[in-house]
């Protein structure tokens, strides 16, 4: 490692420089945006009543941490998101397995899955309230509904793409269909599952917020819709900022999971 050639050292230095520029620029974009937002509201170029401002968001956040209410809202939204995320993955994989087990079923179901997948799920939310009531159940189902059909379709696509020769190998070793499933199809689809998870974590959050808009008394979605109705736009903006942070953290967690998996393999 110590005796790098000059050209290799130059290449590495160039690479590090590139990384550094990207990181610095990312931070700069954030800082400049915040500064512009703060300054323009202070100078009353834009109206801080409608657009809020970083400092107003911070004050709102601090006052809400004092009475603890913000943690309830964040906790509820987070819990609902994680529950629907888990269920999406479990149900998605389970249904994809059933489709894989029966070629007939999968062919019969295909058009329905395609239609349900392209249907805007927010259209279902009002129905869910009528059917399930304005409660957590509705919100979790809304969270599931956004991601479930895409998960089924792409997990199933991954299942049928498994090299048939690998499945033949299982049969030559005296295995049956369930061995093919547990020894080949599922293990070889773990990368597929992880990339689905990356999409699903975001989609579950979307679904949960849609659900909270309509059926919640607590949670960030409720805070947004309530804040906009009573013209407390600081609440709305703060919730959006928190949602950004949640989305980023959750995505990073899945990334971490992927790294662990890749290291193990």
């Amino acid at each position: 490692m110590n005796d790098l050639s000059i050209s290799q050292a130059k290449y590495l230095a160039e690479h590090i420089r590139h990384k550094r520029i990207v990181t610095i620029a990312r931070i700069m974009v954030f800082v400049i945006f915040m500064l512009l937002w703060e300054v323009t509201t202070r100078l009353q170029i834009i109206d801080s009543f409608i657009f809020s401002s970083p400092s107003r968001i911070a004050t709102t956040f601090i006052s809400m941490t004092k009475d603890g209410s913000i943690f309830t809202h964040i906790g509820i939204t987070l819990a609902e998101t994680l529950v629907s995320f888990m269920l999406v993955n479990v149900i998605g994989v389970a249904v994809a397995v059933l489709l894989w087990l029966s070629k007939k079923t999968s062919e019969i179901m295909e058009p329905y899955l395609v239609v349900l997948n392209s249907l805007p799920k927010s259209a279902l939310a009002p129905l869910l309230i009528v059917w399930l009531g304005a409660n957590t159940k509705t919100i979790i189902v809304a969270g599931i509904s956004v991601a479930i059909f895409g998960t089924i379709i792409s997990m199933y696509a991954g299942f049928v793409e498994v090299n048939p020769e690998k499945i033949k190998l299982i049969y030559t070793l005296g295995g049956r269909k369930r061995h093919a499933l547990f020894k080949v199809v599922l293990p070889s689809n773990i990368p597929n599952l992880i990339s689905n998870m990356k999409v699903n974590i975001g989609l579950s959050l979307v679904g949960v917020i849609i659900g909270e808009f309509l059926a919640a008394r607590r949670g960030l979605g409720y805070l947004i819709i309530y804040g906009s109705q009573v013209f407390k736009l600081d609440w709305v903006m703060m919730s959006i900022v928190i949602l950004c942070i949640i989305a980023m953290v959750l995505y990073k967690l899945i990334n971490l999971l992927e790294k662990c998996y890749l290291k193990r393999i």
Binding site: E165, T172, L173, G174, G175, P187, S188, I265
Partner: protein
């Protein structure tokens, strides 16, 4: 005494929406215990189909296949099948890859594991047992695949062009390698290949199939007089060239 394997008038056809393809017609031959049979033929003549039939993965449309005198599905004779590619699973270590068959058949006894350990040791894979398959060379992967097959202690070994994915150099040495492993383990084997030299150098008999629908053109017994016959040494035997020419002529004698 019954032969280990007996095929009687076996025929098979593939069906698709565009029509029926006769793959094999009226195949009959026998394999004695301990024999090494090579099957050669032009591509698409149904060589691999023949192995799938013998292994019981597919059923013949007509004719019968018997192992030690009984029907394949009632027979207790074990069949090992080695495919063209090794298909080692990247998410398993070499060791757990070679245990796959035992795991599926719930035969992970300490005796069987000892046997696997012995083979890993004998065939130079012991120090790679905890490696990932991607760390092995092509030849080592093929050896691991063979151990995976042999772990189930098959009485009959089916080899479907197991060397075709290797480069020429590796192919010669792995062919030699695997040939002597099979001799060493005293297994009966059927090798399907389109490489005539490989067929002659490894086989005790060479079965020549015709173009599709495959039927037997000729069965050529190979007698190469030498002590400790191995695949590589056979290639240098004086008889080798004659057998090559004979089979070559038989294969190209269509017109």
């Amino acid at each position: 005494m019954n032969p280990l394997l007996e095929l009687n008038h076996v025929s098979y056809a593939y069906h698709s929406m565009s029509g029926e393809t006769q793959a094999l017609s009226n195949i009959s031959f026998q394999v004695e215990d301990g024999e090494f049979i090579s099957i050669v033929g032009p591509s698409g003549c149904g060589k691999s189909t023949l192995l799938s039939l013998i292994s019981g993965l597919i059923e013949p449309e007509t004719g019968s296949i018997k192992l030690n005198g009984t029907n394949i599905h009632d027979s207790s004779t074990n069949i090992g099948y080695m495919l063209q590619k090794d298909h080692l699973f990247e998410w398993r270590t070499v060791y757990s890859n070679v245990l796959l068959g035992l795991e599926i058949q719930k035969k992970l006894t300490s005796r069987n594991k000892d046997n696997v350990d012995y083979m890993l040791e004998t065939y130079g894979l012991q120090k790679f047992r905890d490696s990932k398959p991607s760390e092995l060379s092509g030849g080592m992967r093929q050896r691991a695949a063979l151990i995976r097959t042999l772990a189930l202690e098959p009485d009959l070994l089916l080899l479907d062009e197991p060397f075709s994915a290797l480069d020429y150099q590796t192919r010669l040495s792995v062919g030699d390698d695997i040939g002597s492993i099979i001799k060493h383990e005293k297994k009966t084997a059927i090798l399907v290949t389109h490489d005539l030299s490989e067929a002659i150098s490894l086989g005790d008999r060479v079965i020549i199939l015709s173009k599709r629908p495959g039927s037997i053109r000729k069965i050529v017994p190979i007698h190469i007089d030498m002590e400790d016959r191995t695949a590589l040494k056979s290639r240098n035997a004086p008889e080798f060239k004659d057998y090559f020419n004979l089979i070559w002529k038989e294969l190209n004698d269509d017109e």
